[in-house]
């Protein structure tokens, strides 16, 4: 009895936190999402996703975030393998180097890229100085993908590194002893064992990429409308919280699906970041 109440006491800050900042806001989003301005129930805000502009923005967001997730995965997997292969001491410095940029504010880093990529920006000045053609990437979907990959790459590397470094080297050795070459070992042993990390890495890149509006505003010149931008506009410009919440619910549906998938593959929480 005493033990139970103690546990409750210790959990109190957490309960308070999740009720005040997760449960209540979530409940409010649902409430706004299923009502209209006069307060009566409606599904209009949710079916509004079928409006061509909204649907197009959703598809574009899905497309860009899938592309970014794939690029992140292709970049992160070899890197995570290298990190996992090095001894503990060395790799922790390398991992540190990777986390370091994340200590800087996400907005600042994205704005820095804006300045770097601009038509008369640092990169283009350097390119034209050595006689190379200019890079016209700013304010295009390409720049948005670039920003997504840059910002979310660490979220892919860390879970992959975590699950790869947990693979017992003896398993790899056994595979090699039994005659598998390095490609076979990779496909039959390493890759399947790292699936939890892959799944949680994919979720952790895909979800923020799908919902971002800052990256498309800053690097896309606000010329590319993603579903995140539509929702942001409903809250900040049009002041229609109901529509914004309804569209958020649609987005939440995608997020829940990807979280379920990641939970199925990652039962032991192996791929978690820390």
């Amino acid at each position: 009895m005493l033990k139970n109440s103690k546990r409750l006491m210790l959990g109190l800050p957490y309960y308070f936190w999740s009720i005040a900042f997760v449960i209540i806001p979530l409940f409010m989003v649902v409430y706004y999402g299923v009502t209209n301005r006069s307060g009566s129930l409606t599904i209009e805000n949710i079916t509004a996703i079928a409006v061509p502009e909204h649907f197009k923005a959703l598809l574009l967001a899905v497309r860009l975030s899938v592309i970014s997730t794939i690029i992140c995965f292709l970049l992160a997997y070899p890197l995570a393998m290298i990190l996992a292969k090095y001894g503990k001491g060395k790799s922790s410095v390398l991992v540190m180097l990777f986390i370091l940029p994340m200590w800087m504010n996400f907005l600042l880093r994205t704005m820095a890229w804006q300045t770097l990529l601009e038509n008369n920006g640092v990169i283009n000045s350097a390119l034209s100085f050595i006689g190379l053609p200019k890079l016209n990437i700013i304010n295009t979907p390409g720049a948005i993908i670039f920003g997504m990959v840059y910002n979310f790459l660490p979220f892919m590397v860390l879970p992959l590194y975590n699950s790869l470094s947990k693979i017992d080297p003896n398993v790899i050795n056994a595979a090699r002893d039994l005659g598998a070459n390095s490609v076979q070992t990779f496909i039959k042993v390493t890759l399947p064992l790292s699936v939890p990390g892959i799944m949680s890495g994919i979720t952790m890149v895909f979800v923020p990429a799908l919902t971002t509006f800052v990256i498309s505003d800053l690097l896309g010149g606000a010329k590319v409308l993603l579903i995140g931008n539509v929702i942001e506009q409903e809250f900040s410009q049009t002041n229609n919280w109901h529509l914004g919440s309804g569209l958020s619910l649609i987005l939440m549906f995608f997020i829940i699906i990807s979280m379920i998938i990641s939970a199925i593959f990652d039962k032991d929480g192996e791929g978690s970041v820390i």
Binding site: N139, A222, N239
Partner: protein
């Protein structure tokens, strides 16, 4: 149910506020909570006010009228002084969110602010009961004389293919559509779908020429020669010219939006007397002049204008244009919820077009 939601909202917002309100430097005569546009005041004037009246100034900023409005209408934070634009003042009056100002406590307002501005305010604040003009200006074209060879006197330049990828447009619904509406000779307050659809199509056709849709960044991009032409508020023009002398500001011949930002006191203000003291202080000529020097937005304070020493600035056609020379100048009206949503729909279509 709605009450419960409002209560929850207030609780959540209140909790988040707790973290921000820890500082102790209390003025002996209470405080005044000011909510103003970003970079829209000389911070020194706030300190002077604190020293003179012993009232602590709690200062908060916003980027657009639309971001300010929900915070004030939800009543989560009780502000004492806010600085909305014309159409937003109209909206807030219509929703009974503002408090009548007791002008006996604000003698500087009627004394120093020019009659023409009070007259202009009548359009959104009949009888001048709720608002005191703080800054005003126009929306126009800023262009780089080194990069633009054509004469710039019309909104048409923004559709000129010679400047593809060199054009900056405003990323807010009303300002974006105003450009198209004025170019076609329509009212910037139109609710006629045919006119709006025509403008929508023209804005979509213009989109490939546009480098980016931005708000505050027009200034930096134009200073940095990143773009040749941009739509900008007149108040930014003097600042940008100081930084980059190649820049020139023009009010297009088809007309444009003329706007006034005004001090108002919300109905739920807890320190209305302090708010009136604050507004009165802001209308003092020397203070208005300090603010004008700092933010370079045109002041309606005639007494302050008289104090400007630099004759070029005092008679600047940018800061103090002779409005009788221009046609088609129009102040934004509040269009009602349906009007706002009509514009928002067309705006989304422009933004999502390729």
């Amino acid at each position: 149910m709605k009450k419960v939601m409002a209560l929850l909202l207030v609780t959540v917002m209140g909790l988040s506020l707790l973290s921000g309100c820890g500082d102790s430097g209390k003025g002996k005569n209470g405080r005044v909570v000011v909510y103003n546009w970003g970079e829209y005041i000389d911070p020194e004037t706030l300190e002077m006010f604190e020293d003179e009246y012993g009232i602590e100034v709690v200062y908060d900023e916003y980027e657009t009228n639309e971001l300010m409005y929900p915070k004030v209408s939800a009543g989560a934070t009780k502000y004492d002084v806010i600085c909305p634009s014309d159409y937003m003042v109209q909206k807030m009056i219509s929703e009974d969110l503002l408090r009548e100002i007791n002008f006996e406590n604000v003698p500087n307002a009627k004394k120093n602010i020019g009659a023409q501005y009070w007259e202009q305010s009548e359009q959104f604040d009949p009888g001048n009961k709720y608002s005191v003009p703080y800054c005003w200006g126009t929306v126009g074209i800023l262009y780089n004389t080194k990069m633009v060879n054509d004469t710039v006197d019309s909104w048409d330049i923004l559709w000129n293919t010679n400047y593809a990828g060199q054009i900056l447009m405003q990323d807010s619904v009303r300002d974006l559509f105003m450009v198209g509406l004025k170019r076609d000779g329509y009212s910037a307050n139109t609710l006629n779908p045919a006119e709006l659809e025509q403008v929508r199509d023209e804005l979509i056709a213009q989109k490939p020429l546009v480098q980016a849709y931005v708000i505050d960044a027009v200034r930096d991009k134009m200073i940095g020669n990143e773009a040749a032409i941009g739509v900008i508020y007149s108040g930014e023009a003097i600042y940008t010219q100081r930084e980059n002398p190649d820049l020139e500001y023009v009010i297009p011949k088809e007309g444009t939006n003329i706007w006034i930002d005004n001090w108002v006191i919300p109905k739920n203000s807890e320190n209305p007397e302090n708010a009136e003291l604050f507004i009165n202080f802001m209308c003092r000529p020397d203070i208005a002049l300090m603010n004008f020097d700092y933010i370079t937005y045109s002041t309606p304070n005639d007494a302050a204008r008289e104090l400007i020493e630099d004759e070029d600035i005092k008679n600047s056609e940018i800061a103090f244009p002779d409005l009788s020379k221009y046609q088609g100048l129009e102040t934004f009206d509040y269009l009602g919820q349906e009007g706002d949503e009509l514009y928002a729909g067309y705006y989304k279509e422009v933004k999502s077009a390729n």
